[in-house]
């Protein structure tokens, strides 16, 4: 069916922004895993990156600052058939949204969360974000590391870090993450290093420092302890570890760990179940009569 809705608007990002790489990779990945266009929902955060849903022909909800994960989980649990991608910046996810960031791993709903990480608040003109190095814009606090945090939270999650300077690998990782979600395996978190060319242009620096951990001896993405150590060792050498950091062994439907299957084993969600009175009258009558 030809979409009745209008075309997406032109992007508002600065030329050369790392987020263009994410936009392209998301598009390619959705096509590759053959998500029906009307069944994809993109939940955007607040900040430059959060506008991403406006630039795609897709269902989109532009959340409140820091709250995109809560809204994305709500969408997924209301209709588990939808493929839900949340995408925002590191200020949105790791500062104002930190509570939800941690809980998303624990909840383990099968949604994909992409953080476009650039160490700065671009939209408000370049303040330090939680990932900013010491010295950046007067920052005196050590940077937050999302991958180490994610690895420390025991859950059946897919965890990866990618780099906008390598869109091919990024697309492959997003494809894998989406397949993980669509198999109702659980939550997928991908941090993409996505430089802000205006306030913190780290393209050159990061290109030199990124290190694909899958090429290192001992790489085992099923073992959190090994991966935590591998990441720490890489960081101590001044490098930035990228690649798939956690890829748990698949679970069968019977042993599913994802929130939506635990709550809705038959995959019929609150948004698509019948709510007409006539269809429920007998059950309602029983419920009402249970109050004596």
């Amino acid at each position: 069916m030809t979409p009745l809705s209008v075309k997406p608007v032109a992007s508002t990002w600065c030329p050369g922004c790392g987020d263009f790489g994410v936009l392209a990779a998301v598009k390619k990945a959705l096509i590759e895993v053959q998500v029906p266009q009307h069944e994809a929902v993109l939940v955007g955060g607040i900040g430059c990156s959060g506008g991403i849903h406006n630039f795609l022909e897709i269902n989109g909800i532009h959340a409140l600052h820091g709250r995109l994960l809560a809204q994305a989980v709500g969408v997924k649990l209301a209709n588990p058939k939808l493929t839900v991608v949340a995408a925002g910046g590191d200020g949105d996810g790791y500062a104002i949204g930190m509570g939800h960031f941690i809980h998303a791993f624990k909840k383990n709903a099968s949604i994909l969360y992409i953080v476009m990480m650039n160490e700065t608040y671009g939209l408000t003109k370049g303040q330090a974000s939680p990932t900013a190095p010491i010295g950046f814009e007067g920052n005196v606090e050590p940077p937050f590391d999302a991958i180490l945090t994610a690895l420390s939270l025991p859950a059946h999650n897919f965890i990866a870090r990618t780099f906008s300077g390598d869109p091919k690998t990024m697309t492959a990782v997003l494809v894998e993450a989406l397949r993980f979600n669509r198999a109702n395996q659980g939550y997928a978190f991908v941090e993409d290093l996505s430089p802000c060319v205006t306030y913190n242009d780290t393209f050159k620096d990061w290109r030199e420092r990124v290190l694909d951990v899958s090429k290192l001896p001992g790489y085992d993405p099923t073992d959190r302890k090994v991966m935590f150590q591998l990441c720490l060792d890489t960081m101590e050498k001044g490098k930035i570890p990228i690649g798939v950091m956690h890829r748990p062994a698949p679970k069968t439907t019977d042993s599913a760990d994802s929130l939506e299957l635990k709550l809705l084993p038959d995959r019929i969600g609150p948004a698509v179940t019948g709510i007409e009175l006539a269809d429920n009258l007998a059950a309602y009558d029983k419920l009402i009569k249970s109050v004596t």
């Binding site: 069916m1 709500g74 009175l277």
Partner: protein, 597 residues
């Protein structure tokens, strides 16, 4: 309505000693049971409630607990009456005290001829109207555990009040039959221990006789349960919340009720997550609700504004308690209204709907869910601690009065007839036809940024004005959809009451007390608080010389809203406010009106 306390049968033989008097007939009585948290005061109240209901009486109970799990003073009150009741009585006929603190706290509440029944194994009282029974010692020595003291107390009360012995025993059997046979047996023994102790005491037993009533076809519920039931029947299928007194029971009931209906209940990590999870689920097409109280409401405020401008239906049940900050978590107040009427930064439409009775809690929750869905905006279901948590008998809930209104939700066939689909399409009534995401051919682009009809971010000044009007004028277009007030009392009365929520009970009783004095009054029970219902309030105010706006806050918040909307009636409005954490009592309300005359 209620027969006031002063109407119990007068006794001529008051000068006779207890044992020689005929029992005093009680048609409306109150028992206060106090002790330390964990003493089982709620158990005594529950047992009495079961007895009274079996005898066809209406029952109203409230509890006074501190915000802690065990310990600290806790008391439960129970009132029973031949007539429907929705408030506590002004005074207590019987005080059951498990410690001396309960006597200190309860004494000012007592009727002149009230009795104090106390546990003499814990303390001694010299008060002339105090009867000591060593409940804990008796239960401990004869049953091995002092915990049966509350059932023993129930046994003693049954003797004092001349309960029917068979019904008294039946209550214990029903209450404890699901526990172990040993628990049932020990509780039956405890009942006899207490009963025997009271019967052996000269002058104590059969002091009163409680009249039977004819209220047999009643349910016992709390507002929070009725709200949960209403949500399910309204097609509500997604709920997220965070535990907070006095709202938590809504979530707990829904955790039991929703799963068989493909519903989801999530206890979120905080209120920010709760409101945003329901926003996400609402976007996906589910009928949603969250519930909270003052502190949580403050955290949800940004989200509610987001729902208002993104035009996503959400119902927020606000169970008001004493605020601000942590305030008094377990105490009663109605002080969130001003905040809710002006909720959030910026401007967005909202309806504030306020049930006043347990039945209202059920039917108005259904209305709230329909209104949110049809008008695509946040609806606040405004409750208060007394309404949420005090249990009372109520008429059974009637499913035939329920309805589902989807508003302008499009079917796939209707969608196929369209040549374009705009999520925020301009229409005469401000409601844009909708399909949820997941429907082929139509994309839902939603944002809290100002947006154009397609849901794309826009700062165009012409669009901004049209969009603001589209949203804000829903509050005008929806006028005839909003719950109407209920009126009580003769229409010609020159004295008016205006109130909402749990003030319904005290106001209705105060009306009866005043009517006995020959003072007719008319009561406007507001059920839609915002937008202020000028089309019903103005004629009401025109008909009275003075209107007392009764509410639980310092500023007279509802009166202020009415004044703002109807300045021409400013001089007729008088505030009766109470903000000590406790509910109004009818005689106090009646006295305030008498004083003013």
């Amino acid at each position: 309505m209620t027969t006031p306390a002063t109407q119990t049968t007068p006794i001529a033989a008051d000068s006779l000693p207890f044992g020689q008097r005929p029992p005093k007939e009680l048609t409306d009585l109150a028992v206060l049971i106090g002790g330390q948290g964990g003493d089982g005061t709620l158990t005594v109240s529950d047992l009495l409630g079961r007895y009274f209901r079996k005898r066809g009486l209406h029952v109203y109970t409230s509890r006074n607990v501190l915000s802690r799990i065990r310990g600290g003073h806790a008391d439960s009150s129970i009132r029973a009456s031949r007539d429907p009741i929705a408030a506590m009585k002004a005074h207590v006929d019987l005080l059951v005290a498990f410690d001396n603190e309960a006597v200190q706290i309860g004494q000012p509440e007592l009727e002149p001829d009230a009795l104090i029944l106390y546990d003499s194994s814990v303390f001694h009282s010299d008060l002339p109207n105090a009867l000591g029974f060593p409940f804990a010692t008796l239960a401990g020595s004869q049953l091995g555990q002092p915990i049966y003291k509350n059932t023993a107390a129930y046994g003693a009360i049954s003797a004092l009040m001349g309960f029917d012995p068979a019904t008294t025993r039946q209550v214990i059997e029903e209450r404890f039959k699901r526990r172990s046979p040993e628990a049932l047996e020990k509780n039956l023994k405890a009942l006899e221990i207490g009963r025997k102790a009271a019967m052996e005491l000269p002058n104590a037993h059969d002091r009163w006789h409680v009249s039977d009533g004819d209220a047999h076809n009643q349910i016992l519920t709390i507002g929070n349960q009725a709200v949960a039931l209403g949500f399910v029947v309204a097609g509500g299928r997604f709920f997220a919340g965070y535990p907070i007194t006095p709202a938590t029971e809504i979530m707990e009931y829904l955790m039991r009720y929703l799963p068989p209906f493909h519903g989801v209940v999530r206890q979120a990590e905080d209120e920010l997550a709760a409101i945003n999870m329901v926003i996400g689920a609402s976007y996906a097409g589910a009928r949603v609700m969250t519930s909270t109280s003052g502190p949580g409401l403050s955290l949800m405020t940004e989200g509610i504004g987001h729902a208002g401008t993104a035009e996503l239906p959400v119902v927020v049940a606000d169970c008001q308690r004493v605020g601000p900050s942590t305030g008094e978590p377990t105490r009663h107040e109605q002080s969130d209204l001003a905040h809710l009427a002006h909720l959030g930064h910026g401007e967005f439409p909202r309806f504030i709907i306020a049930p006043g009775t347990l039945e209202d809690c059920f039917y108005l929750t259904i209305d709230a869910v329909n209104l949110a869905d049809k008008w695509r905006l946040p609806v606040i279901l405004l409750l208060d601690q007394a309404l949420c948590q005090n249990s009372a008998t109520s008429a059974p809930l009637d499913l035939s009065r329920a309805r589902i209104d989807h508003g302008k939700r499009l079917t796939e066939a209707e969608l196929a007839q369209l040549t374009s689909y705009k999520y925020y399409q301009f229409t005469d009534d401000g409601i844009s036809p909708q399909v949820p995401p997941g429907t082929p051919g139509a994309f839902a682009q939603v944002t809290g940024n100002e947006h154009d009809e397609n849901g794309h971010v826009s700062v165009n000044p012409v669009n901004r004005v049209r969009m603001m009007k589209k949203r804000m004028e829903k509050m005008v277009h929806a006028r005839d959809d909003l719950p109407l007030p209920q009126y009580y009392g003769p229409s010609g009365a020159k004295i008016g009451f205006i109130g909402y929520g749990s003030t319904w009970g005290p106001i209705r009783e105060a009306q009866e007390l005043l009517a006995l004095d020959g003072v007719p009054t008319r009561f406007f029970q507001a059920r839609t608080l915002f937008p202020v219902q000028t089309h019903t309030l103005a004629p009401f105010l025109e008909g009275v010389e003075v209107a007392y706006v009764v509410e639980h806050n310092y500023n007279g918040q509802f009166a202020q809203l009415i004044r703002e909307a109807l300045p021409q009636h400013h001089a007729k409005l008088r505030s009766i406010v109470k903000y000590d954490g406790l509910s109004f009592r009818a005689p106090d309300l009646a006295a305030r009106v008498r004083e003013a005359r």
